[in-house]
Every structure is written in structure tokens, then in C-alpha cells.
């Protein structure tokens, strides 16, 4: 661990990714993630890495596919409209079971929307996003430090499950500066060691007979019986991920909570402030914050409902997407309410507090 530096989320995630062994990065500029691609343009050559500004997000994600198929640590990033374009490639990456990391510094939508922070990409991020039966592991930070810390976690999860991992941030987390402390950078030897775990299936130099290999990176199974087997295997993998990789934070969750909040990412920061203010007034409100939004911590959200909790309120910067998961988690035990803010606007702690007080 080094000393604290004040850094934008966009730059912190880029630096952390390089430290985590990412040596290939392909992307296309878009606000509000441009500092990320600019940081990579500057720093990748210094780290002996590859930076290519692709002709489009479609090309960028397919470059990621090619490099991931070679077993290397590779990343791309974009913001909402660009992430939509990447969905084709993400589906192929999931189908071919390749490890790759995708960062979404989300903005307001739909369409061109605006460039302010929003959480309208929740469904896309947590339901696979592209065509076919697959999931992307999706981590949602709520601070610059957590954003940076997720780099090595994302690469490790991608390697472990041979699955794309998305870090779902937003314009606020990308643009904001906060103190951040980086982990030590992996050495070239450590990176190679990580990459070697893929050598039994990835594209790499062949040897001569009799050890010649022919590795195929592919998502095509034209025989339905074979595709069935493949998809069922994917399903088993997703079950394993659900079992092992739920991440969440409990904030002021206790048996005397009168109400439970649920929020992720930027929205959770605002809710925390509201909970703190309510606490000063003697009102006891807790929050469960999903850190992995896929797999969604259903059990942990349910477990957060204390004996005195009469209601759960979900706060999101969208029209109410995660509220569907929260309802699944609560399963009718208590009513689930929703408060949202859209258009790239962010609710204030006062807005949130007023909403909570309606139910106290």
C-alpha cells in the first residue's frame, strides 16, 4: 500500500487496472469516462502495455475478445451509449467463456440522454445485457477508493470464472476526486503467473508434434444437443457465482431499525447521509447496499429486515429497476416502496430524508 493521493474515479480505476496486471486496453472516447481512456493512453506505454483507440465501441470490445482469447488481462471502458454497442461483444465473450473487464461510467439515458450520473443501465448490467442466456458479474462501487479496489477483484473474478466482469459506476464516481490508496502493482512475473492459468485453453504459441495444440475460442455450437450442454454448464457456473460472490454492505442495520433502505452506488452515498441525519434526530433507519448487483444479494437484503421494520424503501437514480430485485428478496414480507430521480439529476439527502419520514 502506498500513500493516499487525491484522484478522479476515472483515473483511479485506470491506475488500479494497470497495477492489477491489465496490459491491454481498447476503447472509444465518451463523456463522462474520457479521463479513463486518456489516462490509459498516457500510462499504458509506460507500463509496456497496449493502448488502442478503436474506431468504435463495437471494435473495441471485439479487440478485447481477441486479446482475452489469448489469455491476457484486458479491459475496455465506456459510458452508457457505448456500453450498448459493446453488448454484442460481451455476449460473445460470455459465450466463449473469456475473462475480461468492462467499466461503465454510466450517464443519463435512454438514447443520447445526457452526461450526468444515472443508474438507468441497471437492467442491462444485471440481466446479461446482450442476446442469449448469460450473466455478467457486476460490481457497483460507491466511492473512488472502492472503484479502484474493484480493479484487481474484477480481474481475479474474471479469471476464476472465465466470465466478463463489469464495474458499474456513474458520472459522479468517474468525475469526483477522493483520496485513494493503491495496492502494490503486480510484477511482470506475477502477471505472467496469473495469465498462465489460461494456457490450457487460450491462443498462444504452439509446440511441434507431438505436443502441437489446436485451441478454439468460440461461442458457436451448431448442434442443439451440444449447445444445450454448453448452456447448462454456463448455468452451473452462474449458480456457483450466485453462491460465492454476493457482496454487500450493511449500514446501521440493527434489530431496532424502524425502516430499511436499499440503494447502490452513488445513490447509497446520499441515503447514508439521510440515515445519519435521522440518527441525530433519534430515528433508527438501516440500509443494505448491494455491492455486487449481479449476483444480487437477495438473502442479505432479506436478512436486513429487522423485527420492527415495517417497510423497505429503494432509492435509485432511475425509474425503479433494482426495486424489482428488492421485491424478490423481500418476497412480500413487508411493503417495498421506491423513490427515484432521473435525467442525470441526483436526489439530495434532504429529499431522501423527507421520503423516509413519510413512512416513519
Amino acid at each position: 500500500m502506498g500513500k493516499k493521493v487525491l484522484m478522479k474515479g476515472n483515473e483511479a480505476i485506470a491506475e488500479a487496472a494497470i497495477r492489477a496486471g491489465c496490459r491491454l486496453y481498447f476503447a472509444y472516447p465518451i463523456t463522462p469516462q474520457s479521463e479513463l481512456i486518456e489516462y490509459m493512453a498516457k500510462m499504458m506505454p509506460k507500463a509496456d502495455g497496449v493502448f488502442v483507440q478503436a474506431e468504435s465501441e463495437v471494435a473495441a470490445i471485439n479487440m478485447v475478445y481477441g486479446a482475452a482469447g489469448c489469455g491476457r488481462r484486458v479491459m475496455t471502458s465506456s459510458s452508457s451509449p457505448g456500453i450498448s454497442l459493446k453488448q454484442e461483444g460481451i455476449s460473445y465473450i460470455a459465450g466463449a467463456q473469456l475473462p475480461a473487464v468492462i467499466v461503465n461510467v454510466a450517464r443519463g439515458g435512454p438514447g443520447l440522454g445526457d452526461i450526468q450520473p444515472a443508474q438507468g443501465d441497471y437492467f442491462q448490467a444485471t440481466r446479461g445485457g446482450g442476446h442469449g442466456d448469460y450473466y455478467v458479474i457486476c460490481l457497483a462501487p460507491n466511492s473512488v477508493q472502492e472503484f479502484a479496489d474493484m480493479a484487481s477483484l474484477a480481474f481475479d473474478l474474471a479469471d476464476k470464472y472465465r466470465n466478463p466482469v463489469m464495474i458499474l459506476a456513474d458520472g459522479l464516481l468517474g468525475q469526483m476526486m477522493e483520496p485513494v490508496e493503491f495496492k502494490d502493482a503486480l510484477t511482470p512475473e506475477e502477471i505472467l503467473e496469473k495469465e498462465k492459468q489460461h494456457w490450457d485453453w487460450c491462443c498462444r504459441p504452439n509446440e511441434d508434434e507431438p505436443n502441437h495444440h489446436h485451441h478454439e475460442i468460440n461461442s458457436l455450437e451448431i448442434d442443439p444437443k451440444e449447445l444445450e450442454k454448453h448452456v447448462l454448464r454456463l448455468g452451473e457456473k452462474y449458480d456457483l457465482i450466485r453462491e460465492n460472490e454476493c457482496r454487500w454492505e450493511n449500514y446501521n442495520v440493527n434489530d431496532d431499525n424502524e425502516l430499511l433502505c436499499c440503494a447502490y452506488g452513488t445513490a447509497s452515498r446520499i441515503v447514508k447521509s439521510a440515515i445519519d441525519q435521522l440518527k441525530e434526530e433519534g430515528k433508527n433507519v438501516g440500509m443494505v447496499r448491494p455491492i455486487s448487483v449481479w449476483p444480487f444479494p437477495y438473502q442479505q437484503v432479506a436478512a436486513g429486515v429487522g423485527p420492527k421494520v415495517k417497510r423497505v424503501v429503494t432509492f435509485e437514480l432511475n425509474l425503479g429497476q433494482m426495486v424489482e430485485d428488492v421485491k424478490l428478496a423481500i418476497n412480500g414480507k413487508v411493503p417495498v416502496e421506491f423513490m427515484g430521480k432521473v435525467g442525470g439529476l441526483v436526489f439530495t439527502p434532504e429529499d431522501v430524508k423527507a421520503e423516509i419520514e413519510k413512512y416513519l
Binding site: 491491454l24 481498447f26 497496449v50 488502442v52 478503436a54 474506431e55 468504435s56 463495437v58 471494435a59 473495441a60 471485439n62 479487440m63 478485447v64 475478445y65 481477441g66 486479446a67 482475452a68 482469447g69 489469448c70 489469455g71 491476457r72 484486458v74 454484442e88 461483444g89 460473445y92 466463449a96 487460450c202 491462443c203 498462444r204 504459441p205 504452439n206 509446440e207 511441434d208 502441437h212 495444440h213 489446436h214 485451441h215 478454439e216 475460442i217 468460440n218 461461442s219 458457436l220
Partner: protein, 247 residues
């Protein structure tokens, strides 16, 4: 007994899935033979397209990736950048390369990626059943141009070599024909040049094969060749556009 022809080492022993008389098989064989001759099989990896040659990743006996429709040059870019010591090629049809993948091919060529692109031009979408391709000829009837390609409505066929030749970076661009044994021998020379330049890390190399699709043209293989000679070659001239190695 003397063996006069064997399967190239660079092909697996799977049987091709192409229609009888289809020239995809010939193109595969040329590439594989050259890989053997240059002894680069162990350091070579390829990208298969979406189209009739989608299974090329099973046929070439080296590491292979199967790309999304049109994206092979981007996938190849990622592979080459990830494994700069390896030689990377793509194999693509005309729908794949000149329609849905136009941006990817232009920009890979423009960056001068050190890859080789083999482009099979059969003036039609083979795999999906004979729809109009960006290379379908004026007046050509296909299942999606049942009255003939109307150039006033949908434009003229795209000449990809000529298009790429307007870029500064490419190192080698040639169009060859697969329509007769003599032309196939010439085509092999182009394949060899491209892969040799690739091996020597000289730059972006591109070979277009003027080919046929007997099945979707509704002709027997011999007639298809005649038709291609009469109709395709005048529009898609078999010629070398660029050879920086000879300048």
C-alpha cells in the same frame, strides 16, 4: 508408390462443410499449404468469420478464434497486440467484410495492423441463402434483389481492394481469381507473399479471392466459373494494387 498430394499439416483432418464445387475449400487449402511451406503453423493463429466459412476455426490446425459477424479484423487486432510474436490472419466473406464489418476492415488496414486478411468475394451471402451482398453485381438477381440489383436504388458493388488502396498504411493488396488451375497457382503466389510479409512483420496484407457460390447462384460449379469470368472479373479486376516490398 509416390505420394503426389497429401493433406497440408495446417489443416485438421475434419471434412470441409462446403458445397461440392465451392471454392472456399480451394482457398483454405492454398493458405494451409503456404503455412506449411513457410513453416509458420506453430506461430500462427487465425480468425474465422460468420458466413459459410464459419467453421474455418475447426479446419485450420492452429489456434483459432471465431469472431462475431464482421468483427474479425478487430478480434485479430486484439490477438496480434496480445501476442505480438505470433502471426495472425483473418478469413472473411464479402457480407462479413464489406457490409457489417466495413468499419473494422478499413480501420485495421488504416492502422497498418500486422495481420493478413483473406477475403473471399462470391458476390452473395452464401450461408443465409443467397441474399444480396455489397459485392453483388449490377442487375444481379438474388433473393433480396429479385428484380436485379438496382444501382440507382441500392448503389454499386463495393470494390474493396480499390477502397483499401486509397489508404496509406497497407503494405500489400492483391486481388486474385480462383476460377482456373492457372489462376489458382497465381493466387497461391499472392497468399505466399502475404503470409511471408506477415511473417517478416512488414505490415497489413490483404488478398481478395474472386470466387463463386454455385449453390446460391443456381449453377453447376463449371458454369459458375464461366459466369464469374464473364461477369465478375470485368468489374473486380484480378491485379496487384500495392506491394511495398517491391517498390
Amino acid at each position: 508408390m509416390q505420394v503426389v498430394a497429401t493433406r497440408p499439416k495446417s489443416l485438421t483432418d475434419l471434412q470441409f462443410t462446403y458445397c461440392p464445387g465451392c471454392l472456399h475449400g480451394v482457398a483454405h487449402r492454398l493458405i494451409a499449404e503456404v503455412m506449411d511451406e513457410l513453416d509458420i503453423r506453430n506461430e500462427t493463429m487465425g480468425v474465422a468469420p460468420v458466413g459459410c466459412s464459419v467453421f474455418a476455426y475447426k479446419f485450420f490446425d492452429c489456434d483459432m478464434q471465431e469472431a462475431a459477424h464482421g468483427r474479425a479484423p478487430a478480434v485479430a487486432t486484439g490477438m496480434k497486440r496480445a501476442r505480438p510474436d505470433m502471426h495472425v490472419f483473418t478469413y472473411q466473406g464479402d457480407g462479413d467484410l464489406a457490409a457489417i464489418g466495413t468499419a473494422e476492415i478499413i480501420h485495421a488496414a488504416n492502422r497498418g495492423e500486422h495481420i493478413t486478411v483473406f477475403f473471399v468475394n462470391n458476390a452473395i451471402y452464401g450461408m443465409t441463402g443467397g441474399q444480396m451482398a455489397p459485392t453483388s453485381l449490377p442487375g444481379m438477381k438474388t433473393t433480396t434483389s429479385p428484380y436485379g440489383r438496382d444501382v440507382d436504388d441500392i448503389g454499386y458493388p463495393i470494390r474493396v481492394c480499390e477502397l483499401l488502396d486509397s489508404l496509406v498504411a497497407p503494405f500489400y493488396i492483391e486481388r486474385v481469381s480462383l476460377l482456373s488451375p492457372a489462376e489458382i497457382i497465381k493466387a497461391k503466389r499472392a497468399v505466399k507473399k502475404a503470409l511471408l510479409y506477415n511473417k517478416e512483420e512488414r505490415g497489413f496484407t490483404f488478398v481478395e479471392f474472386v470466387s463463386t457460390c454455385p449453390t446460391n447462384w443456381g449453377m453447376d460449379p463449371m458454369k459458375a466459373r464461366d459466369w464469374a469470368r464473364e461477369n465478375m472479373l470485368p468489374f473486380f479486376k484480378a491485379q496487384k494494387f500495392r506491394d511495398k516490398g517491391e517498390e
